[in-house]
Symmetry: C2
């Protein structure tokens, strides 16, 4: 399977895709390319970085809502509703925007970015697509009485707690998980696609005997599938996919061409990487994989995408070629 | 050879590179991947689209300067000096900006784009990086008495004349050259990297007997190597490469990961494609190939590029792995 950029009927550029589809017992159900490719999980690890909030009683302690939990799992578009929910969560735990250590960046939604740029909005840490995750990490620190300073560092108990959760769900000892610094400054995890897919599959499955799915997983899954508009934002692939199949699919993007999903009813996890890191190609590939797994139809926004030149002429398209097993 | 995006010491994404290095007799001197890969030449064809201006006497007819000819070969940054030269050329041939059929787009230079956005500059056709090429095509039409309307269409004599020139230099019959619509609306050419490299090699070489290099080629080469700042712009790879090795190298970028170069003294042509279309990877790869061919040192801007996250931390780098023949 590759995602091809066509111009006038000929392939001008292409994006190689690697996919692992795994069930909750760890069985590789389908694949493309190398399901054992090691890469960074990036933001597709967010549900697992939010799991300690449910597992450790942080949700109850601070009466964190499903909307706020959804934001902790999100790569949000910096829409006003996203910022408001993060700010409410920060206030609830006695923190402020000044405690957030994520760096600002233009909103991931082009239309939101254009709007803010045209109005001269000053982008601060809360505008980071990761600000919900960071607020969740601050809540975890508050709950356990850990310092809220330097919570992004790998040696901080917040990061160690998240790593422990990642280790548990991916079935990998901590020392087999590579670590590096993510785009927002926290720890990111290097592991095989197969293990990423396993973790997703386990979130909502009849568990194999040796792995008991804790109720905390259901809280995270519920928060995400109930609020597709909070996981990404208007017009973005995660939101479009989850809206198109309510309660049936949970999709989470990661930077540099990573995409993960859970087929809730089938108990299947999907992890996918576009080798060159192309984000739109990853979204189109995920939609194609989900369709092949029975999640039909693809949202219109994730079918072949016209390639429009500066004169407004359609000169080609971006489309998926091939399927699972290719 | 591939260009790797590292994070914390591990490869997170990579860009496959295909290269052909060819001499003026068509001998493949060095290669990476598939030198027979067929792709679109895009803006790296501009020197050959400008050649009819020299060959047909258009330069003399309108007293076109070397700066103006350089702009006809450029993918410029929309700097004020670039716009002024294109406007002067248009005036000289009795045309105006209204005759330009290229679509506008944000300047290819990030700093120029930021500057214009912050000042609310309205981007019109002359701001297109291709406006010099379009002005040259209008000059060609004026000279031959062809209509200036619809000059972008494949059936227009301007495009047929350019295709004839491309056919001549690439050693390919016209019917073996694929055509499609380019980003700016004119015809773009689909052909093998090997033939692109041959065309560049022929521009400034002791010609083999069967191909006489016309004086027109020297006019185009001279205009380009004398004015590196007009071929791209401040801080952009073509300009940096040509400035670092004055008179020794001619470099021309194309969209979607294409890069071509001429080693003027060695009479070698280089054509390169990053399969996924990554532009910065293509520039780093070209600098590495040129270095291996003896064009040393690489400009500092085209060595390994730090990957900086939203907090300003260096979290990895983009760098070339491997060399010619790999």
């Amino acid at each position: 399977m590759r995602v091809e950029q066509l111009r006038g009927g000929a392939v001008e550029a292409w994006h190689d895709v690697h996919v692992a589809v795994v069930d909750a017992a760890g069985k590789l159900v389908a694949q493309v390319g190398d399901p054992d490719l090691v890469t960074y999980w990036r933001s597709a690890a967010k549900p697992f970085q939010a799991l300690p909030l449910a597992a450790d009683g942080v949700l109850e302690r601070f009466a964190i809502t499903t909307e706020q939990l959804a934001l902790c799992c999100a790569s949000h578009s910096s829409e006003p509703q996203h910022l408001a929910i993060v700010r409410d969560l920060l206030a609830k735990i006695g923190c402020s925007e000044r405690d957030l250590l994520c760096g600002p960046h233009p909103p991931l939604s082009e239309s939101v970015a254009r709007d803010y740029a045209s109005r001269g909005v000053r982008l601060t840490a809360v505008y980071s697509n990761c600000s919900g995750k960071h607020a969740g990490m601050l809540a975890l620190a508050r709950h356990h009485g850990w310092p809220t300073e330097f919570y992004t560092r790998v040696e901080h108990p917040v990061q160690q707690r998240c790593l422990e959760e990642v280790s548990r769900w991916t079935d990998l000892p901590k020392h087999e998980i590579g670590t590096a610094v993510d785009g927002c400054g926290v720890v990111c995890y290097g592991l095989r696609l197969r293990n990423m897919a396993l973790a997703y599959a386990r979130l909502a499955s009849d568990p194999p005997r040796q792995f008991r799915v804790p109720p905390s997983a259901f809280r995270v899954v519920e928060a995400m599938v109930r609020h597709p508009e909070l996981i990404a934002g208007e017009g973005r692939p995660c939101t479009d996919l989850m809206r198109a199949h309510p309660g049936r699919v949970l999709a989470k993007v990661g930077a540099e061409g990573v995409y993960c999903a859970l087929l809730v009813r089938d108990g299947l996890g999907v992890a996918l990487k576009v080798a060159d890191g192309h984000g739109l190609a990853a979204a189109l590939a995920l939609a194609a994989v989900l369709e092949e797994l029975g999640v039909r139809p693809r949202p219109a926004s994730l079918g072949p995408r016209p390639n429009v030149n500066t004169r407004g002429e359609t000169v080609g398209e971006l489309r998926v070629n091939g399927g699972l097993g290719e």
